[in-house]
Symmetry: C2
Subunit: 391 residues, 2 copies
C-alpha cells in the first residue's frame, strides 16, 4: 500500500484545518477518505459535530501541495498511515477515537523503526536535580539497551531524558506541541537540533504552528501511543504527566512511576499515580523498566540455575500462565478477570505463552498445552520461582 500524492496533500490540509484529535473530523475521514473530506470542507458541506465554516477558512491559508513543498524546504516530511515508516502503534489511537491523521517529521531516522522498541520518559518542567539526573540515567541505560526514548522536549525531565539518550548514542523522539520547524522552548534549541540528527522531532501541528496549552494535552496522547510504556519520573500532583499516564493506560501501554522523597512535591505526583492506579508499576532502574516493556526473553541473562521455559517470561505473562485453565478452554475475557488484567494485556500474554508452546487456543477459549501442563507440574508458582528478584 502506498500513499498517493493527493492523499498526502489532503492529510496535510486536514492537519491545518482542524486541531489534532478532533473526533468528528476523524470519523468523517474514516467514512469518505481524506481527499473527499477536504472537498466536503471546501464546498461547506455540513459535517456532524464540526464547524465547517471555520475549517474552510483555515484551509484557505495554504493549499496542501504547497504545504508539502514548503515543509520539504524546512526538511520536514509528512508521514501518513500506509507509509513504510508509519508507526503502526499510532493506529491504537483509533480505538479511543483520538486517531492521528498524519505526522510531520523532521529528522534522519525512520519513525516506525524507532518506535518498535520505544519508552516514554516524562515529567515536570521544574525538575529537581534528583529527577533530572534520574531521567538522564534511565534514558541512557535504556538507549544503551536499544530502546528509543520518547519525550516532549520540554524543560526539566523531558530535556534530561532526551539528553540521556543522546549521551548514550541512542535514538530519541521529541514529540512537539508546535510545528516541527519551531524550536520551542528557546532554551532547548541546541537539543532540538541534536535530536534531529539522532532521531526525530514529530508533530501533528502544521509547520509554523505555535504551542499552546490545549496542544500540549493533545500531544501527550502521541507520546503515550508511540511507546510501549510511559515512565513518569517526577511530577507535581495533578500535572500533565498524569494525562500522559492516563492515555498510556487507555492504550494498554505500561504505566510506570519513579518514587522519591515523600517530602518532595515533585515526587508526590508519582506517588499519587502509584497509589491510585492499580496498573501503575513502581520502577527505580533500567532493568525494572525493561521488565515491564520488554519482550519475552529479555530477562534470560539474569536467570541462574536450570532454566525452565517460563523462567523466561515476564511477570504479566507468568501471571497469565498461573490463571489459564489446565484442560477446559475458557474465554480470554474471563481469564483476564480472574487475573485482574485487562483483556488486551491478557491477549498479548496468551499470545506470548502460545509462542512459547505453553498454552493453546481451542473452542473459542484458551487452556494449557500438553507442554504447559508438564511445565506447571515442574513445581511451585511462577511468581515465586521467577529469578527476577521477586520474594
Amino acid at each position: 500500500m502506498t500513499v498517493s500524492d493527493a492523499e498526502r496533500a489532503a492529510r496535510a490540509q486536514l492537519l491545518r484545518a482542524a486541531e489534532p484529535g478532533t473526533g468528528a473530523l476523524l470519523r468523517h475521514v474514516r467514512l469518505v477518505g481524506p481527499a473527499q473530506a477536504v472537498a466536503d470542507i471546501r464546498r461547506h458541506a455540513p459535517i456532524a459535530g464540526l464547524d465547517v465554516e471555520t475549517l474552510a477558512t483555515r484551509l484557505l491559508d495554504v493549499p496542501g501541495d504547497r504545504e508539502l513543498e514548503l515543509a520539504a524546504r524546512l526538511g520536514a516530511r509528512l508521514v501518513c498511515p500506509g507509509d513504510d515508516e508509519w508507526p503502526i502503534a499510532l493506529d491504537d489511537l483509533e480505538r479511543v477515537d483520538a486517531g492521528c491523521l498524519a505526522l510531520w517529521v523532521r529528522g534522519t531516522s525512520r519513525l516506525g523503526d524507532m518506535c518498535e522498541r520505544a519508552v516514554a520518559l516524562v515529567g515536570t518542567r521544574a525538575a529537581t536535580d534528583y529527577g533530572a539526573s534520574l531521567a538522564a540515567e534511565l534514558a541512557s541505560g535504556l538507549a544503551e539497551r536499544g530502546w528509543t526514548i520518547v519525550s516532549g522536549l520540554a524543560l526539566g525531565i523531558d530535556a534530561a531524558a532526551h539528553r540521556g539518550a543522546l549521551a548514550a548514542g541512542g535514538q530519541t523522539i521529541g514529540v512537539l506541541a508546535c510545528g516541527v520547524d519551531v524550536a520551542y522552548p528557546v532554551a532547548n534549541r541546541s537539543l532540538y537540533e541534536r535530536i534531529q540528527q539522532a532521531g526525530a522531532v514529530v508533530s501533528e501541528q502544521p509547520p509554523g504552528s505555535a504551542p499552546h496549552r490545549a496542544r500540549f494535552l493533545v500531544r501527550n496522547r502521541l507520546i503515550a501511543a508511540l511507546s510501549a510504556g510511559t515512565v513518569v519520573v517526577e511530577a507535581a500532583p495533578r500535572s500533565g504527566a498524569r494525562s500522559t499516564a492516563r492515555h498510556a493506560a487507555e492504550l494498554y501501554r505500561h504505566v510506570m512511576a519513579v518514587p522519591g522523597p515523600v517530602s518532595s512535591i515533585l515526587s508526590a505526583g508519582c506517588h499519587q499515580l502509584l497509589r491510585d492506579r492499580p496498573d501503575a508499576v513502581l520502577v527505580t532502574k533500567v532493568d525494572e523498566v525493561i521488565e515491564q516493556v520488554g519482550a519475552v526473553g529479555d530477562f534470560a541473562e539474569r536467570v541462574s540455575g536450570p532454566v525452565r521455559r517460563r523462567d523466561l517470561l515476564g511477570p504479566a505473562v507468568s501471571k497469565a500462565f498461573e490463571v489459564v485453565p489446565v484442560m477446559r478452554p475458557v474465554a480470554v475475557e474471563r481469564i483476564a478477570v480472574t487475573a485482574g488484567m485487562r483483556p488486551d494485556a491478557m491477549r498479548a500474554a496468551l499470545a506470548a505463552l502460545e509462542a512459547a508452546g505453553l498454552v493453546e487456543s481451542r473452542d473459542g477459549g484458551w487452556c494449557m498445552s500438553k507442554e504447559g501442563r508438564a511445565e506447571r507440574r515442574g513445581g511451585g508458582s511462577a511468581v515465586e520461582e521467577l529469578p527476577l528478584g521477586w520474594w
Copy 2:
C-alpha cells in the same frame, strides 16, 4: 472465662521449655491443654515433632509458679488467652500455625485495649535521617489520632517510631525478642523505661532471656499480629522488615511501605516490597495510613459536597461495592476473585457494607440491598467519585 493459676503457671513453663512459635508444641497444647502438656513433657512422653528430652531439661530450670512470682517482682505479668487484656488479634496466629501461648507484659496500659487501634511501624536499624524523621512524624500523627504504635524497640526506625508516639502523648508497644526485663539494646534503655509508662513492652521470651537472631524473626510475627497493618518505613532489600510484612500479609493485615530516593539502599527494600507484593500499598503520610487501617467513616471529615453513604467507605470497601452483584447473590469467595481481593478482606468489606445497609446476605451469598441499588444508581464508579484525591 477466667484463666486458672495452674493454667497460667503451665503456660509460663511452656514458654520456657520451647522457643515461641514451635508448631508441634502448639498443636499438642491445643489437643490436651497447657497443664497436661507440661505433665507430658515432665514424664518424657513422646510428642510428635518435638525433642521432649530437651524440653524437659529446660523445664527443670524454673517451676512455673515460681516463674510467675519472680516475674511479678520485676513488674511483669503473664497475659494469657482468656484474660480480659488478651489481644484477640493474636488468635489469628493460630490460623497460620504460629500461635502465641501467652505474652509477658511490663507496662501500665491494658494490652488488649491498646491493640484495638494499633499500627506497626518498622524498619532498618541503620536508618537515615530521612527515614528516622519520617518514622517519628508518622508515629506522632497516628498517635494523635488515637492509634497505638507497635514496633520492635530496635535502634533506627523502631526507636524513632516509639519516640514519635511518646512525643505526641500516645501509646506504644515494644515487642521484644528478649525477656521483658532485659533493656536491649543498651542505647534504648531510657526509651525502654518510658514505653512502660505510656504503654507496654511485651515478649514471649521468659524473663532473663537474651535476644538472638532466630528470636527476632519469630518476634516479627507478633508485631504483625498485634497491628491492623504494618508500615515499612526504610529497609534494606531482603531485610527483617520484609519478614514482618510477609507475616502481616499472611495474617490479612495491611502491608504498607514508604517510598524514598531510589539512590538510597535503605529505601530499596520498601520499593522492592511495593513492586513485588500486589497487596502492598505506598503511603507517604498519616492520612494514607489511616485510609488503609481505619474503620469505615474515618474519612468523613475529608468529604466535601453532598455526602453519599458510600463516600464514607474506604477504597477496599468501595471496590467491594463495585463488584458485589446487583440482584443474584454470589458466594463471597467468587466476589473476592472478581475484585482481586483476599476472601477475608472481602468478608470484612461486605460486613462494613452490610452495616451501612448497602448489601445483604441471602441464600449463602451476597448481593446489593434495595438501598445499595439506589445508591449505585446515584451514579459513576465509587472509585472515581471518592473525594479522597483519587484521579
